[in-house]
């Protein structure tokens, strides 16, 4: 079961003088349980693409299916939940509970089952259930974003799709959101992140897809990404590339601090041994 996108094209303002092609014959597949990062410049079509995954936009040509269900089916929103950019702007409830329970209660869940869903969702979002009685507007920006995330999780989606989830967050809230996403992924949810800050998510991702003017310009693993794409690259990868230019024998596809440390230790040891001989 997966998200399958076949020959998807989409134009804004079709048939008018303002017509703008956002997606051009895009085909790709996102497997169940994967953590997929969709990157690209502003205006490359990333957000347009993922809005097709839960049926907010309907394909003008081509098709999108989620676990076998056409994205035009209303029930696709059970399968794919989308957290939009600056989701805290969408909060409306008097209490956090009211806000998070809105989705499931619209699908007929009530009573203890609803309470349990909300509690689980708040827990998953890293908030704790006690927050349920507070007004969402009394919370910090970072917490409000997590409440919005809990609202999506309360629908128990198979695919969690997040559009620029870290934009505007300070480093503290950003690293805790990244940790939450990692946990969610480990618990079996498929995660799709749209971001123009590709480097931030590379260490978490199984797969990277880059869009350029509505085209898929890259589709591969993070390691393939750092080998074949010239920018943007994580500082650690750039350091290794610098060191190679300086004559160090290290790999050029390093993403994590652990791997970088090991490579440098080995390179220095080899060099030391070479000098001893």
């Amino acid at each position: 079961m997966s998200i399958e996108v076949k020959d998807l094209s989409f134009c804004y303002n079709r048939g008018t003088s303002l017509e703008k092609r956002a997606l051009d014959n895009v085909s790709l597949s996102i497997g169940k349980g994967e953590f997929v990062l969709i990157g690209g410049e502003i205006g490359s079509g990333k957000s347009t693409l993922v809005r097709h995954f839960n049926g907010i936009l309907k394909p003008q040509s081509g098709s999108v299916t989620v676990s076998g269900m056409a994205s035009t089916d209303r029930d696709v929103r059970h399968k794919a939940g989308l957290l939009m950019q600056y989701p805290q702007k969408q909060l409306f409830g008097r209490t956090v509970f009211e806000d998070v329970s809105f989705g499931p209660s619209n699908f007929g869940i009530k009573g203890d089952a609803l309470e349990q869903r909300v509690a689980d969702a708040l827990e998953q979002a890293g908030l704790g259930r006690d927050i349920g009685s507070l007004s969402p507007f009394s919370l910090s920006g970072g917490q409000m974003r997590l409440v919005a995330l809990a609202g999506v999780l309360a629908m128990q989606p198979e695919y969690l799709i997040l559009d620029e989830p870290t934009s505007g967050l300070d480093p503290e809230n950003r690293s805790s959101l990244l940790a939450t996403l990692k946990e969610l992924h480990l618990s079996g949810i498929s995660v799709v992140v749209v971001s123009h800050q590709v480097c931030e998510f590379l260490p978490l991702a199984d797969k990277v897809i880059l869009l350029d003017n509505g085209w898929v310009s890259f589709n591969g693993t993070p390691v393939e990404y750092v080998r074949s794409v010239s920018s943007p690259l994580p500082e650690i990868t750039l350091l290794m590339k610098d060191l190679i230019r300086e004559g160090f024998d290290v790999r050029d596809d390093i993403l994590s601090i652990d791997d970088a440390f090991e490579e440098i230790v080995n390179a220095l040891e080899k060099r030391g041994a070479g000098q001893d001989e």
Binding site: D170, S175, E235, L239, D242, L243, E246, G247
Partner: protein, 273 residues
Amino acid sequence: MIHIKDISYRYPDNTLAIDSLSLNINKGEFVAIAGKNGCGKSTLLRHMNGLLLPCQGSVVVNGMDTSDPSSLMDIRRTAGMVFQDPGSQFIGMTVEEDVAFGPENLGLSQREINERVDLSLQNVGMEGYRYHTPRSLSGGQKQKVALASVLAMKPDIILFDEVTSMLDPCSRKDILSLIENLHENGTTVVYVTHHLEELVHADRLVVMENGRIVHDGHPREILSRNDPEQFGSDLPPVIELARRLADSGLIPADPSSFPLSRAELREVLCRSK
């Protein structure tokens, strides 16, 4: 330049935000202030041009006490401030009008005002946007205009409150290099930030916790040891790697030569190979 003596500040809800804090900032320094959310760093900054007044203690800027209402105009002319959200401080219909607002209020001649607007816009590389409306600009461009408006007042000190936090990495680099230039040309810079990788430019780092100063020294000294938990952010990957290499004895552990950037770490490694 700025003498802060034993100040405390409570918010209207009685939360203690600054707790008996003293700090002297010297002329020409580039001082970065870091710390976790709610540690009081922005509150402290707002004391440095009299936007907030301490409940006890005193703040003296260039010899003027912020508690003296008759000095406030001069204090704000001496110490300009750039805020986190540049959109929130525009008042003009055009970029030019916005930058001219400050100098106009000083009662300067039209010629002097024009000269200041020209020079400030040139300094931030925005002269081509003179007749644009500020709202049509990108986040980074807005922040440059906000900085130009402050420069037009020819301040001796500029206070920056998390000015890069809403910017993309490219605009962030632009703004940082502008600030670096200002510092090189003699402006005193006080820079509140969450982003530790930006501290490479500072010659002094102040770390705050619960309204008090817990570290005050060169960024190398402070970032080469100490629990990153206090800084309000993970260590930048290059600094974390450098710390691990220093701990294992692969690069010198001396804080005065501790590398803070990718270029510095590369150099240190080349020397130790």
